[in-house]
Structure formats: C-alpha cells, structure tokens
Symmetry: C2
Subunit: 147 residues, 2 copies
C-alpha cells in the first residue's frame, strides 16, 4: 500500500471497508481468534486484533497484551517496538469460547499506530464513526463509550 492509500484509508472520510479481512486471516493458516481490547480505565474499546494459542499463552504468562500479526505472520507483542505496551488487567472469554476480551492498562501513549491532528498517538483505533455513508472523525471529548 502506498503512503497516499494509507492516508486515504486511515484519515479519509470515504468508507473503504475491507470485508475480505477474515478471508486473508484464514488464508495464513494460523488458527486465531478475534480479540477485543478494552481500556480498563476509560472503558474505551481501543482495537480488535487476533490471537493464536502462542499469543494467548504469552499474554497470560507475561501480563502484557500479545497478538498474532496476521500481516507479518508472527507473534506481535504490542509495544515491543513502539513502547505502547498494554498491561493485562484481565482476559475474558465469551460463552462459546471463540472470542476473547483483553482488559488492559495503556502504559504508553495509546494503542493505534496512527497519530491524531495534535501529532499524538491515538488512544483508540476507533476514531471515526459512520454517518450518512461517510466517515466522520470523533473529537476527543466524545471518544468515551459513545453516547
């Protein structure tokens, strides 16, 4: 992806949803589950990622959120390079045992790999909402649980 494509995808108002994400994830042949990651302090859902057995084991053993990178096909210990580590408060499992919820404490500046207009790492990857078929940036004031 070019820089311009990434900019359009990440900062633009055009809805360009990649509905084929899970097909690509499955194509890696790595057995993973989706993980919702929630900031235990603010209540914000900050990202959705994927974990295989290895990532979950790492997470539980070290108390640090780890995932399986479905783009790099490797263990992804969040913050290992960026410093934006997520400390585990609790790992929850759903009724059917096919998804996970990490409650975390944000130790670095945020969770997202993008930066807001102020140049700071965004706290959450969910900084846009759909409105009339377009994406609208959410201002910091209402970034909470969404009402």
């Amino acid at each position: 992806m070019t820089q311009a494509d990434a900019m359009q995808l990440e900062e633009g108002s055009e809805l360009l949803l990649d509905f084929h994400k899970l097909e690509k994830v499955a194509a890696t042949r790595e057995a993973v589950l989706p993980v919702a990651v929630q900031d235990a302090e603010s209540g914000q859902v900050i990202m959705i990622a994927y974990a295989n057995r290895q990532a979950l084991d790492y997470t539980l053993e070290h108390g640090i959120a780890a995932f399986w990178s479905t783009s790099r096909d490797e263990l992804w210990v969040k913050g290992a390079t960026s410093g934006d580590t997520l400390q585990i408060v609790e790992v929850r499992v759903n009724c059917e045992q096919n998804s996970l919820l990490y409650h975390v404490k944000v130790l670095g500046h945020g969770a997202c790999h993008t930066r807001g207009p102020d140049g700071d790492t965004r706290r959450t990857c969910f900084y846009r909402r759909i409105e009339d078929g377009q994406l609208v940036h959410i201002t910091r004031e209402v970034e909470g649980t969404g009402t």
Copy 2:
C-alpha cells in the same frame, strides 16, 4: 453439539477455546468483518460478532444491530426471535477499515443467548475470565469494565 457439550463449553471452568473459529467463518465464503459490540450505557463489551455488507447496511438503515450468522449463513437481526434487540447509538470503524465497533442500547434483557444462575439472560457474553488456566465466572458486581 449435544446439550452436555454446550453446557460444558458455556458454563464450565475448562478452557476449550476454539481457535479454528475464523477458519470456519472464512470457509462460509461470506466476506465478513469482526464487530465488537459495546453497551453505550454501561461501557461493557457484550459480544463479538461478524458483519457482511448486507448486515452493516441493515444496521445503518434500521438503527438495529444486525450481523451475519456464521453458523446459519444468514442475516441475523439480533433480537428478532429473542426480543433482545440492540439499538444502534453509533457505528465506528477502525484505522485500517477492517473491523467495526457498534455502540448499542440494550432494549431487551441482555445480549447473550445463555442465562445466569438467576435464570436471567446474561447482559454480556464475556462472563468468565481466565485465571490459572481455568475459567472463573465473574460476579455481577464486577461485570463492568473490569478493574
């Protein structure tokens, strides 16, 4: 799945994570994205489900949470049979436009298809946490955002 298997999976303390969930989802050949669903009032993450284009369009048009049922391979308007409808407050999109976050108002009794010891529909599907390799039920008092 037998009733006993479902009971063990849904109420038991044994960790029986189905890491092959996403492979099965991909095998349906339906292009879907993961959706985290958050109760906008309590801040609880109540479920993770999947949406295809049709489900997202339905959700945005009707203001009611709809998903793609990956087990029944059909549009799943949550609450259509159970009455546990989720009213949409906001639909958010992540940085890379490959996952969704529905902020909802719970109109029925809850979100989960299981019932707690009191016989009531559980508010959230994430009613157990992992502790020392086992699943531990979370009591109502601390079911919030998890600290």
